[in-house]
Amino acid sequence: MTPAIDVRNVSKVYRRYARKKQFATLKSALLSGSLISDLQPDETFPALQGVSFSVPKGCTYGVVGRNGSGKSTLLKCVAGITRPNSGSVEVDGRISALIELGAGFHPEISGRENVFINGIMLGLTKREITKRFDEIVEFAELKDFIDAPVKTYSSGMYMRLGFAVAVHVDPEVLLIDEVLAVGDQSFTLKCLDKFAEFRRRNKTIMLVTHSLDLVEKFCDQALWLDKGKNHGEGEPRRVVAQYLIDVGKAEEQLLAREEAGRVAQAVADAPVEAERPADPADGGDAPADMFKATEGRWGTREIEITHAELVGEDGEPGHVFQSGEAVRVVMKVRAHQPSNDFVFGFGLFNADGVCCYGTNTNIEKLDPESISGEAEVTFHIDRLELVEGTYRLDLAVHKVDGYPYDYHRQLYSFRVKSRTPDVGIYRPPHRWEFKGDVRWKPTRS
């Protein structure tokens, strides 16, 4: 059986023109005789490099990848809107591309007329549109407004109408570029139902999206594009997992770089005087300070935090953790002179600078006796029950009265990933229980 979409070794190069040439005019081109050379690009940007894949008929095919990885360009090549510089694209059957909804709507004329025009642009005949017209309007939920000019529509109405027309073209091959985010929840569900119907009728769907959830649940196969290259293809779960690992790595690198910069900066301008506010976990501080997300480092350094890192379940230091993972915060400290008055503090802040948790050894009734030389302090979090987001850490050593030895304010950051899109600050360990006649379908994934 011939595949519905067959892409072989496709490359696409976008041309970039130097600023000077962007302002070139016909006149100046003719005067300097550089008409031909001005049409030559002086810089090129490869959007796709030798991408090959094929989608069998009836398959739902997901494409994932970071921003700028060439997903949309690939979709445009498949749709035939742009032509690849090399390689071949073959598509078997009528294509409908949902790249931008309602492209081609004319604002001045009514929704009704626009449905006809848009339908004809997408390849329907007038008769076919007449036959499907009521269905389209019903789907778009625009019965009362269909005779109003499109310029009076809200953006949601506009999108819904565009979507309704596009899916009623009844294509063999449907190309979708991140357009499911239209309308409210119920409309999104309706769209998903429509896609499910396409699947049942053995149509081919190619879906470009950032919603990995959708790819896992919905697609039969997936492709991961990275910097214009095919980075992996096959079973969606596997591809998505690989992609996530890669995203995690990139994030990790970014966070590590940022953190290194922050720490270096803080060391450089750390004042040695002991005139800064004390550990917020002491409780003796005004709460306003807790919300002040100023980062920095201060203290006398009689006891110094020489190094700090977060270690995940795999035993490797890192900056990206799964929610629920066991994480420990390891501090290396050095007491330049022996001391019998010391407190280790820990503070956790979310991206808004809200203190999620703070404690110290004094609060937890650990009475200091002595410290000298090198030491290692580990703060164990058995289950990192945080919702997804970026968090920052305060680490501190100070006297019981708050006199700071070494205070690291929000110098360390890490990211928590979660497969559950719950919200808030704190995730209590929880479960649901139902009594009476409440039933649930089998688990979705």
Binding site: Y14, R15, A24, T25, L26, K27, A29, L39, K76, A79, G80, I81, T82, R83, I95, A97, I99, E100, A103, G104, H106, E108, I109, E113, F116, I117, I120, M121, L122, T125, K126, P149
Partner: protein
Amino acid sequence: MLAHLARLVRYRGLIQTLVVRDLKARYRGSVLGFFWSFFNPLLLLLTYTFVFTIVLPGMHPDSVQPYALFFFCGILPWTWFSASLSEAANTLIAGGNLIKKVLFPAEVLPIVAVLANMVHFFLGLPILVAFLIYFQRPLDPLELLWFPVIVLVQLIFTTGLALLLSALTVHFRDIKDLLSNLLTLWFFSTPIIYSMQMAPDSVRWWLNLNPMAHLVISYQEVLFYVGPHGHWKWLMAMLVASIGTFLAGYFVFDRLRDSFAEEV
């Protein structure tokens, strides 16, 4: 290129729909609506008649009297021509969304611009007929058979230029500004407000190089001047030239086609 030309035939439904859309959208919201298609040429006519019969009387010999009718024979096709070109120059940029986001044969857009203006031209014809009846001009039915031929030649010629201009404007935006001035010059180089006989011999040779001159003269011969259509040889030459223009325009358009989605 030939395959693309053949494809155009398949898209005639789309072209038709877009022309209708264009006409509908143009007057949507105005009080007089479609009547503007009549009023626009009428107002233009009043302006020029005012200038040449009241402000500057006696400028025109008897051969072009009644002047209003003479002028109208030329200005109607000219408006079609010039409006088509200025719209076509802008049409790919204005329709950029379609070219970038929908699988869409771009040449439809300039063609629609020409056809929509042709409809306006046709809508102006009843006024012309009314004038002909008012001035009781004798019309030769046989000569009138030439009329569709002239329209066809103008259509082919205008479409060729529209394709060329629309494609080039994508790369050189300043064609739009250049064009509006060029069209003014072109207007005065075409025997619309004067007749070819009024031009001095030295200039006439140059004016003969202007394709639009021959089209306008043909319209005048058929609709205004009494006597047989003496300009048909020029018209046939124009037909050949028009087809050449069309093919050249389409060739350039076809060559630049792939760059539209990126440059628009």
